[in-house]
């Protein structure tokens, strides 16, 4: 927040410097820490432009993407018309674990279709290649599931403009946000063409106890399992001691 205020002040106090670049953008933080008390957070993307933005002027688009992973989508089918079980499945490679797109206006309004698809601006332009079941319903289901979980967001609210040259947008990160490297692209659009872009990055990391537990569990699973067993046995023994006293 302090950095945001500072940058905004800098942009106002020193307009000459800001005008050297058509677009300047920054993030409110470059690391998100997932602790044992993590319930989701939000970070700010903000910046300023050389020319006026908003109605009649340039447009700003903000795209944030998280680390990719393969995902399987399964469809339930009734066996003998009675019991619902997982039936056909489609495997999608390189599915972003987080996707956020916002603009001063929706991307499809400010860019030609071909340009928008090429830059992956919009959930419908994600290059999701699948193996397995062919039906397009699987892709639609993946979109619906990820959107419901709050991990894929498109145009939640327009990018806010202040004083026709400053913009800022809030990127919400829900509790289930995957850990890893995130890339943020800020694009400046003028007369249906991308005229400037700035790439930013941040990391989501587990820290503290949550990180140590997850690290030990993956790197030394035997030690971790042993610790779990001993811990549970100790808790049980402690319970029996308490029980004898009372």
């Amino acid at each position: 927040m302090i950095r945001l205020v500072l940058l905004l002040l800098l942009a106002w106090a020193n307009p000459g410097r800001a005008q050297e670049l058509p677009l300047v953008a920054a993030l409110s933080q470059d690391a998100v820490e997932v602790t044992t008390g993590f319930t989701g957070t939000a970070l700010m993307v903000f910046g300023s432009t050389e020319g006026p933005i908003g109605p009649g002027g340039d447009e700003v688009l903000i795209l944030a993407r998280g680390p990719t992973r393969p995902v399987v989508v399964r469809r339930k089918v009734p066996i003998l018309g009675v019991i619902w079980v997982n039936g056909p499945s489609a495997r999608f490679a390189g599915v972003p674990g987080f996707y956020f797109l916002a603009g001063t206006r929706p991307a499809w309004q400010v860019l030609p279709e071909e340009e928008r698809q090429r830059n992956g601006l919009g959930l419908d332009s994600l290059p999701l290649s699948s193996t397995g079941a062919r039906s397009p319903a699987f892709r639609a289901a993946l979109l619906a599931l990820e959107s419901d979980s709050g991990l894929w967001v498109e145009d939640p609210a327009p990018v806010e403009i202040a004083g026709s040259r400053l913009f800022h947008a809030r990127v919400p990160l829900p509790a289930a946000v995957p850990t890893g490297d995130y890339h943020v692209e800020v694009l400046l659009v003028r007369s249906r063409r991308i005229v400037a872009r700035q790439e930013l990055a941040f990391r989501v990391d587990r820290v503290g106890a949550a990180d140590r537990i997850a690290t030990v569990a993956t790197e030394q699973p035997f030690v971790y399992g042993l610790a779990c067993v001993l811990f549970a046995a100790l808790a049980g023994w402690f319970g029996s001691v308490l029980f004898r006293r009372s």
């Binding site: 319903a137 569990a217 699973p221 811990f231 023994w237 319970g239 029996s240």
Partner: protein, 302 residues
């Protein structure tokens, strides 16, 4: 208070988990069972992924059973020899069960398998318990004398062994098979198996009731420890923070349950436990038969 579970990778209300632990601990103290059969479905219900719920449920069962085992051991109600035979079967069974679980996870049928196992096993056990205890309650006044234990085909099997504490001279094949079966179930269902082991020991092996609870706890503790280890090493799905919160409530709940349990009569307790087991089975069956709200589900590709 929200808490981020590092293995389940989600945040859950800590008080809800402690509360679930307390409720399940209360029931397990009341009925003298581990309570895993209630815990795992409850965890799945609040949105914990099935593999994590099963693995952490086994870990919690271990903790809940240790205090019971210590108490029973002090009173000399454990048959270590019978327990060891059951345990050898149980360890081999849980090895096979974890392999089965990993296979089910690969083909995406974990949820189905866990539900079907629960419906079949809980439905059968619950139904038998309710029937048996209803008969016992009706028969209470007509004091019929029963034989010490019946002899049938099981007693003709080879490899006989003498179990002094249980006052039995039987083949080791039936207890081994019982242990193996319970081991498989505990790996797939995340339960200790006490609620199945106790009737199996009484009716199938003909053990005296006094040593049944202690010996079943002996087996449950070691099988649950084995399942926890295997799940942690092979699948990495044991969430220690989840277990910790559940045990916190469970240890306290078990005390209240146990003190209340002494005021209930045996038949009534068994009938209540039977009804509880049956209702869990029915609610899971309903989940399988109902048309799901969302036909699609997604998960990480393995």
């Amino acid at each position: 208070m929200q808490v981020y579970l590092p293995i389940a990778e989600m945040s859950v209300d800590a008080f809800l988990l402690v509360g679930i632990g307390f409720g399940v601990g209360w029931l397990s103290g009341l009925f003298g069972v581990g309570g895993g059969f209630l815990l795992t479905p409850l965890l799945i219900l609040i949105g914990i992924p099935s593999p994590v719920a099963v693995a952490s449920g086994a870990n919690q069962t271990l903790g809940a059973s240790v205090s019971g085992l210590i108490a029973q051991w002090r009173r000399g109600n454990v048959d270590p020899k019978m327990g060891s035979v059951l345990l050898v079967g149980g360890v081999l069974g849980s090895l096979a069960g974890v392999q089965l679980f990993a296979l089910l996870r690969r083909i995406g049928q974990v949820d189905l398998a866990v539900s079907v196992f629960y419906v079949v096993v809980l439905g059968t056990v619950g139904g038998l318990m309710v029937m048996e205890s209803a008969r016992a309650i009706l028969r209470r006044r007509t004091t019929a004398r029963r034989k010490l234990h019946a002899h049938f085909w099981i007693h003709g099997l080879p490899l006989k062994m003498r179990f002094r504490r249980s006052r039995l001279y039987i083949s080791i094949i039936p207890p081994f098979a019982v242990g193996f079966g319970i081991g498989v179930l505990s790996a797939v269902m995340g339960v200790g198996g006490g609620f199945m082991l106790v009737p199996a020991m009484i009716y199938f092996l003909g053990m005296p009731t006094s040593v049944v609870i202690g010996t079943s706890l002996f087996q449950v503790v070691f099988v649950a420890a084995n399942v926890t280890m295997l799940q942690a090493v092979q699948l990495g799905t044991v969430d220690i923070l989840l277990t910790m919160l559940l045990l916190l409530g469970g240890v306290a709940g078990a005390q209240f349950g146990a003190s209340m349990g002494t005021r209930l009569r045996g038949e009534e307790t068994r009938a209540l436990l039977g009804l509880l087991v049956l209702s869990v089975a029915v609610s899971l069956l309903w989940g399988l038969l109902r048309r799901p709200a969302n036909l699609f589900s997604s998960g990480p590709a393995l």
